[in-house]
């Protein structure tokens, strides 16, 4: 949980940071910064998108208002980091921060 708070604090305008399990569809851990109504469906959609093992390990989805970032862990392919933030001019920064965080997690695993 501590690590999710860290990434949620670092990513500008973060809405939620979570670990989801693509095999069971369960949210393993989450840190919700803004409890928006779309968080639940968005995490479900993230699980659904990353469920297929053929899916690339790193994906970024853009809506008009939000950026959804998914990273699959190499050490545990069912474990996916999901970070959603408000869409702003800092998309590149948010994506880079989440990538660094996921790489650090992978290295620590």
């Amino acid at each position: 949980m501590t690590r999710l708070i860290e990434i949620a604090d670092a990513v500008p305008d973060c809405v939620v940071a979570a670990w989801v399990d693509t095999r069971t569809g369960a949210v393993r851990e989450q840190h919700v910064v803004h409890d928006a109504s779309f968080v639940g469906p968005a995490l479900e959609a993230a699980t659904e998108v990353m469920r297929s093992r053929e899916r690339p390990p790193r994906m970024v989805l853009l809506s008009a208002r939000h950026v959804h970032m998914f990273h699959r862990m190499v050490s545990d392919p069912h474990r996916v980091l999901v970070v959603i933030c408000e869409r702003s001019a800092n998309i590149g920064l948010a994506v880079a921060l989440v990538r660094s965080f996921a790489e650090a997690e992978a290295a620590a695993a």
Partner: protein, 266 residues
């Protein structure tokens, strides 16, 4: 064109041995030739079908207003007599430009192939040492497939191509598929000439699967990283666009590009 015929074109193109030169010939049970697809070093040069009524000269006249049938027939007769290539001679005499000739040849090849695949006759491969076609006037399997696919819906294909041309930057590749179509055969492509057709179809299927889920939460664009390749996909009306970018910082560059892009939603 219905999906089975479209898939048949894909199968025909997959039958071509890579980098080989020769002809894929279709011969009927009574011994008459239905048509053939000529190939040089893995690229399509020409297709002919006994049932296809249009001549290249008809297409050239339709494509270039300044060209008359009289002029072209004169050159055609000369080329026939002196064994000269018609296309190159027309370009050399300034009667047609190279892009017009390229477009007309591609159209003729795709239309003839569209007729040829509907025949009920087996295919056979006849190897050849090469025909000596100008490389600019031969076509990759991806170009031919997109050309054949476009025959079914020329308006949609033209719209997709215009959109892609406005988006694909140096070093990038892009293609578009019709979302409602059963097969994920490209409707239009830019820069995908050297990409394996099956790889394009796989990318389109993956993109379509992601967009099907993503649209439930109002996602407009999906970006993915596949090794060193970055891939962006999005839907506009009934067209699914896929943009590919590789090289240094490919993902970041593509992200910056698509984040600034206006999506035309239905």
């Amino acid at each position: 064109m219905n999906p089975p015929a479209e898939l048949e074109v894909l199968h025909v193109l997959e039958r071509m041995p890579p980098d080989a030169s020769g002809a894929l010939v279709r011969e009927r049970a009574d011994g008459t030739m239905a048509g053939a697809l000529l190939v040089e070093r893995g690229r399509v040069c020409w297709a002919m079908s006994e049932r296809y009524p249009r001549r290249l000269t008809d297409i050239l006249v339709a494509e270039q207003d300044s060209l008359t049938l009289h002029q072209i027939n004169e050159v055609f007769a000369m080329c026939h007599r002196d064994h000269m290539p018609l296309g190159e001679t027309l370009v050399a005499r300034g009667l047609v430009s190279l892009p017009v000739l390229h477009r007309a040849l591609l159209r003729h090849t795709c239309e003839a192939l569209d007729w040829l695949v509907r025949e009920d006759a087996p295919w056979s491969w006849i190897e050849h040492s090469g025909y000596g076609y100008h490389p600019m006037l031969t076509f990759s399997p991806a170009e031919v497939l997109a050309g054949v696919r476009a025959l079914a819906n020329p308006t949609l294909a033209a719209r997709a191509l215009t959109r892609l041309r406005g988006l694909v930057r140096d070093g990038q590749r892009g293609f578009a598929v019709e979302r409602s179509s059963m097969s994920k055969v490209p409707l239009a492509q830019v820069g995908c000439e050297g990409v394996d057709l099956v790889a394009l179809a796989d990318l389109a299927v993956q993109a379509e699967e992601v967009m099907a889920v993503a649209t439930t939460i109002d996602i407009e664009i999906a970006l993915a990283e596949l090794g060193g390749l970055a891939c962006a996909s999005w839907a506009e009306d009934n067209i699914l666009f896929v943009l590919l970018c590789d090289g240094e910082l490919a993902f970041n560059r593509l992200l910056a590009q698509v984040a600034a892009m206006k999506i035309f939603l239905p």
